[in-house]
């Protein structure tokens, strides 16, 4: 393939001055770190919320002092009201799914690493890139603002089903401005994600350095690229969905609100809308969204494994990449599996069930590839590997839950039970998080030029791994027993016996959360006190390890990077850099 002489993406000289350098920077590396930091903050907010939820579930009349400062009427006398529980739950889900897991693994690491991995000096559209971060930031601020406005955050769940989410304050506390802010916040998040996806796609296709043919792209790049494609279509549908919801709330329209609704004896003016329309639109986005969350995790793990098992993945780049592409494509035809009992035609249920079961095939292929790549390998148990292995175990467990939920017959019992909560915490809520951690431990030296503490990293891993199973495997089991989700207290004759089990879950959850502070300490402390990082501490082969840590402003100090190898040329201690025709780095 003949290379062409093209203007590299360095339209801009290194910026001067603090603001341009660190705040409104167009440098993809700074933006990547901004995204990562944002999602780190968001994650701890979300975690604090889950703590409050768990405490309330285990000890319904416990006093939670700090929260009562935040919301006097949500926490009269420091005791959480049922509606405030739901508000916290809604924001927990929203923040975690959008601002943590759609931010860090994709926009955070992707921004920092993708241009370097393809040998570009920056993203294709640096200003657009900056715009998408700051739009995301405003979205996050709006989401947090719901906590301080008088009527508090919305209580309609992260799925915001109308009419509950559409008719306004009549439906309950938090359904006033809380819900409006929620809608606007998500709408902004959509816009940002669309801009980001556009940037990722164009960068991958247009800015590959000489020799970086598509077949030599690192798997992580492939994952981000495929994921950008999925985001581009999915968020383009969530955006109008949010707009229509806000129109129903503020414009008096009735897209999602049928006629004849009565709230405390008041007949509502609306007529003719359809709640199912919203469910279809939301889940048409919602299911791809969950794969938008897992695909970067696939990429990160596929990128990290070869480095630490010192051999390529089975089947090279092709099989795993096709598996990811298949998952991404199929994810658009299965959304109805969230609506089996929602009054959709039972025949449609079958229509959605079959592709849902088939989408497990590419996932199984991916898992088999990862697991069987370990065969006769040479494992190096640094923290990134541990978290990658943790990811494998968690993803298998979470995915297996999918088999139960994918069938209308069994789902009609398990739907809306804690089995579902367990399922999506294993998949989304923690295998993706574990991959995010793996990426963090793996790339931190490159991002900040310092090593994280291995000791603390390992402690963090063991506590998290055990904690996760204690919390969410137990939720699967109580789900079998028919424990219902989104309950702020267990008053049913049926749920009362499960209270001790829930105490256990809560205690485990508190410990699991506590373990995250080890991570936080490690991340902050090492930033200043950690040992200086070598350029290539892991003995890896891709371009990001072929430059200084952290990389210079134009990523390669003006060197012409010429790629002559695939990304996974490992053999035991030996490994071949993508750029080097002859020399090979000895594994550290």
């Amino acid at each position: 393939m003949g290379a062409t002489l093209a203007r590299a993406a360095v339209h801009h000289a290194p910026p001067q001055g603090f603001i341009r350098k660190y705040v409104f920077s167009v440098d993809h590396k700074v933006i990547g770190i901004q995204y990562t930091t944002l999602s780190l903050v968001a994650a701890f907010v979300g975690m604090a919320l889950s703590w409050a939820m768990r405490i309330h579930l285990a000890w319904p009349d416990a006093r939670i002092p700090l929260l009562s400062l935040l919301s006097p009427n949500g926490m009269p006398g420091g005791v959480m009201t049922p509606e405030y529980y739901l508000s916290l739950m809604t924001m927990h889900g929203t923040i975690m799914a959008f601002f943590v897991l759609t931010a860090a693994p994709m926009a955070g690491y992707g921004n920092f690493m993708l241009p370097i991995q393809v040998g570009a000096a920056d993203m294709a559209f640096p200003r657009l890139n900056m715009a998408s971060f700051w739009v995301t930031f405003v979205g996050f601020v709006l989401a947090c603002a719901t906590f301080i406005i008088p009527d508090g955050p919305p209580l309609s769940g992260w799925t915001a089903y109308p009419p509950l989410s559409a008719v306004g304050p009549a439906a309950g506390p938090g359904q006033g401005w809380g819900q409006n802010l929620w809608g606007l916040s998500i709408a902004l998040f959509c816009v940002a994600s669309l801009l980001g996806a556009l940037n990722f796609i164009v960068t991958t296709l247009e800015l590959r350095t000489k020799g970086m043919t598509l077949s030599r792209l690192p798997i992580s790049t492939w994952a981000w690229f495929i994921n950008a494609g999925v985001s581009l279509l999915a968020f383009a549908v969530l955006l109008p969905t949010c707009l229509l919801l806000v129109l129903d709330r503020l414009g008096g329209t009735s897209f999602f609100i049928p006629g004849g609704l009565v709230f405390n004896d008041q007949l509502q003016p609306h007529a003719g809308g359809s709640p199912l329309l919203f469910q279809h639109l939301f889940w048409f986005f919602g299911h791809p969204e969950v794969y938008i969350i897992i695909l970067p995790a696939f990429g990160i793990v596929s990128h990290i494994l070869p480095t630490f098992i010192r051999k390529p993945l089975v089947g090279g780049w092709k099989v795993i990449t096709f598996a990811m592409a298949a998952v991404g494509t199929l994810s658009f035809v299965v959304w109805g599996h969230h609506m089996f009992v929602s009054g959709m035609s039972p025949y449609m249920a079958m229509v959605f069930s079959v592709p849902t079961l088939f989408i497990t095939i590419p996932s199984v292929i991916a898992v088999l590839i990862w697991v069987f790549s370990l065969y006769r390998s040479n494992l190096r148990f640094d923290t990134p590997l541990l978290f990658s292995l943790g990811f494998l175990s968690l993803f298998i467990t979470g995915g297996i839950g999918g088999f139960f939920l994918a069938q209308p017959s069994t789902d009609s019992y398990l739907h809306a039970t804690t089995f579902v909560v367990g399922h999506f915490h294993f998949t989304m809520g923690l295998s993706a998080i574990f991959a995010t951690f793996a990426g963090f431990y793996y790339w931190y030296p490159k991002m900040f030029g310092r090593m994280l503490s291995e000791k603390l990293g390992k402690v963090h891993f063991w506590l998290s791994f055990v904690g996760v199973y204690c919390v969410f495997m137990t939720m699967h089991l109580t789900g079998f027993a028919g424990a219902v989700r989104r309950y702020s207290a267990f008053v049913d004759d049926f749920m009362v016996p499960l209270i001790p089990t829930n105490r256990f879950i809560s205690v485990a959850a508190l410990l699991l959360g506590a373990a995250q502070f080890i991570f936080l300490f490690n991340a902050i402390w090492s930033r200043f006190k950690g040992p200086k990082a070598a350029d290539n501490p892991w003995g890896a082969t891709t371009l990001e390890w072929d430059t200084t840590s952290p990389p210079p402003f134009d990523n390669f100090g003006g060197r012409q990077m010429t790629v002559c190898h695939g990304p996974m040329e490992y053999d035991g201690e030996a490994a071949v850099m993508q750029t080097s025709p002859e020399s090979s780095v000895a594994g550290t």
Binding site: M1, G2, A3, T4, L5, A6, R7, A8, V10, G119, A121, A124, F125, L194, A197, L198, I201, V202, L205, E206, L207, R208, T209, K210, G211, M212, T213, L214, L232, L233, F235, A236, V237, L239, P240, T241, L243, L244, L247, G251, G252, T253, S254, F255, P269, H270, A271, G272, G273, S274, L277, L281, D554, G557, G558, R559, Q560, M561, T562
Partner: protein, 208 residues
Amino acid sequence: MDQSSVAATTHHDVVMEPSPYAIEKKKLGMWVFIVSDACTFGAFLFAYGYMRVGAPVWGTPFEFSSILNGVVMTAVLLSSSLTMLASVRAAQAGAKASAMKWLGVTMLLGGIFAALHLREWFKLIGEGWRLFHNPTGGAAQFGATFFSVTGLHLSHVVSGVIALAFIARGYQRDRYDASHVETVGLYWHFVDLVWMFVFPLMYLMNAR
């Protein structure tokens, strides 16, 4: 091309893999944007269809004058696509003056389209149509879908005119070249194409 010359180049000229589609990034970016924007319109139109099928009675308010107005708008927008084309051709041929002229005409036509559209809107509003009210007693969803879908399209037209003005200014001062004109042209044709769906669905299907 030979590598030795590359080695010598400054770090601002780096040898890259050729784009798989052999188009430069601005244009690819615009195509990608168009794909996702099409999905957004698609979702709006899907909602419209869903509402319409679900409605027991769907008032069809447009009498001949509105349809005629719509036809004129369509003609205006179509011809604006042609003038856009002419402008791009001229720009690529390096005929700056005529490219600018055609850009001007395109913006003018865009403006006329917007004006006609707003006139239609105010007429309807005058007749009592609202996002949530249907004076003919039919489904209130008519107003909701009509104003939101055409509103979305109108906003695209207006921002298109602004973009054209912006590009024209840069092109005038040689900050931008023919490729910029071509890229904004892509957007303009897309807005036109969308109207080719909106017009039959929103006007013709709602004719008395």
